[in-house]
């Protein structure tokens, strides 16, 4: 993959463009193979994004989030 997509929606949009291009049958062999490679990378990225919100619901209260952020910031500031 050349660049990581900015977001899930950007990745899905590009993936749809790739599949449309491949379905058109107008891509040459080199382009087809390049598009397939890029498409697989995008699918991998999207799967990872879905996995990130698929492992288990986490519930935090606002002050817990603030505490967590403060503690994670400490090592960097020390």
């Amino acid at each position: 993959m050349t660049d990581k997509p900015d977001s899930y929606e950007v990745a899905v949009e590009r993936l749809e463009q790739i599949i449309d291009r491949l379905d058109s049958g107008q891509a040459g062999l080199r382009e087809t193979l390049d598009l397939c490679s890029e498409g697989r990378d995008l699918v991998t990225y999207c799967s990872a994004e879905l996995d990130a919100v698929g492992e288990g619901l986490k519930e935090l209260k606002l002050d817990e989030l603030a505490t967590k952020l403060a503690s994670s910031a400490e090592p960097g500031t020390a």
Binding site: S7, Y8, E9, V12, L15, I18, I19, L22, D23, A27, L29, T32, L33, L35, C36, G39, R40, V43, C46, S47, E49, L50, A52, V53, G54, E55, G56, L57, K58, E59, L60, K61, L62, L65, A66, L69
Partner: protein, 442 residues
């Protein structure tokens, strides 16, 4: 009053601007009371805060988002209003009738201003709706309904913030909606009261705190249904202005479908239920998305395989190319060889023919040499005829100064009528030709 003004302190210069007075303050206070009591009696609507009682009257502040007025009502008048017990309490929305009053105070008592209410009733839905409508028009005119709607909402947020009551069906319904979406990210709860008079500022503070967290990509504000009075906190002007100005999208799900609070107007999305709010916060159905990704991957595999498969015959043909090319060249070479052979055979035949023709010419010349005397005689006679003939050629005439008239086709024009008919003619002299135009016949 002026005649009672205390005379200026004798010879001392007057401080301050040149105004009437000074007057005795007690009398001025009583005049002020009279002025106040002459003002028009009106109806006011607002929220009751700071209720207190003395032996003879109840006092409180009536306020809304823009300001407040201190109020007082005699206990007799309050009793006549027939309100349910405890109805005049903090947070109650009431309509009062009365006018401004001023208590001038006394020797020990402090002066005070108040709106003297003579009647009081709990605000009805109509009163609240009228206030809501006025506020709605105002915020809309300021463009505050559009700001949130212009924000980009993430398709798949990893963290969402939720403002709701800690206990309540809304919280449970929202979680169920997220579960149905197949979404199991992080929910950050900011619990706040959703009904009493402290609700609006607490809700506004909770939303602001959530928006300040960089991980929070969308905020849901939700509570269950109720009367408009119950939901009144969500029509608070300050709260709605806060929501409108946030850069994080806010999804409101307050009350039931028929309820329309002001926060619904300013939010990025207004939903009828917490379940719908879950779908608006996580726009992607994660379960369906996984299926679509599988199908996308299958499409890519098919495309790659097909891309190679459809080109295989061509590749095979290319691979066989050298043998076929050699065969083709060999055939072409054989053909050339045949052509060269045929050409050389033709050349030999042609050379034999040429030699035959040469021999014929040589023989003929030998024969002519044998008949030489007769030929010389004939040649001399011919020369004479030729000289005579040349004397008659037109060129000889032209050399003597005559001109030949020809038409455009080069045919001689031999009379005047033909010259006129030709119009344009060519005059041919011995040294060249010129064009001429026939104008008229003499």
């Amino acid at each position: 009053m002026e005649e009672e003004a205390i005379s200026a302190a004798d010879s001392a210069p007057r401080p301050g601007p040149d105004l009437p007075g000074p007057f005795a303050v007690g009398r001025y206070a009583r005049k002020l009371q009279e002025e106040m009591r002459r003002r028009a009696r009106v109806l006011l609507v607002g929220e009751v805060t700071g209720v207190g009682r003395s032996k003879v009257q109840a006092y409180f502040e009536l306020r809304d988002g823009e300001g407040a007025v201190p109020c007082a009502i005699w206990l007799d008048d309050l009793e006549k209003a027939g309100l349910p017990s405890g109805a005049l309490r903090d947070g109650a929305e009431v309509v009062i009738a009365g006018g401004p009053d001023y208590y001038p105070g006394g020797g020990q008592a402090s002066p005070s201003f108040s709106f003297r209410a003579t009647h009081v009733r709990l605000a009805g839905e109509g009163d609240l709706l009228a206030r809501l409508e006025a506020l709605r028009k105002q915020l809309q005119a300021e463009g505050l309904f559009e700001l949130q709607k212009q924000l980009a909402r993430p398709l798949l947020p990893k963290t969402i913030g939720v403002v709701t009551a800690e206990s309540g069906a809304a919280r449970r319904d929202l979680l169920a909606g997220l579960e149905r979406r197949g979404w199991r990210g992080t929910v950050v709860w900011a619990f706040a009261p959703v009904q009493d008079r402290h609700a609006a500022p607490r809700i506004a503070a909770a939303i602001q705190d959530l928006a300040a967290q960089p991980q929070v990509e969308a905020i849901v504000v939700t509570r269950g249904g109720g009367s408009l009075a119950d939901l009144w906190a969500f029509c608070d002007e300050t709260l709605c202005r806060t929501v409108a100005m946030l850069r994080v999208p806010v999804i409101s799900a307050v009350g039931h479908e028929r309820d329309s609070t002001l926060i619904d107007d300013v939010a990025a999305v207004a939903c009828s239920t917490p379940t719908h709010a879950a779908e608006a916060a996580v726009r992607l159905d994660c379960v369906a998305a996984r299926g679509e990704l599988e199908r996308g991957l299958a499409s890519l595999r098919r495309a790659a395989e097909s891309g190679v498969r459809t080109r295989t015959p061509h590749l095979v043909a290319l691979a066989r190319g050298p043998a076929r090319a050699l065969r083709r060249e060999r055939l072409a070479l054989n053909q050339k060889t045949r052509e060269i052979r045929a050409a050389s055979e033709r050349g030999i035949a042609e050379r034999l023919g040429f030699q035959r023709r040469l021999a014929t010419v040589v023989l003929e010349r030998a024969r002519q040499r044998a008949a030489g005397a007769e030929m010389e005689r004939r040649r001399t006679a011919l020369h004479r005829v030729e000289v005579a003939l040349r004397a008659h050629e037109p060129e000889r005439t032209l050399e003597r100064g005559y001109a030949l008239v020809e038409d455009r086709a080069g045919e001689p024009v031999v009379d005047a009528a033909a010259a006129v008919a030709a119009g344009r003619v060519k005059l041919r002299f011995a040294d060249g030709s010129v064009g001429a135009k026939i104008e008229e016949q003499d």
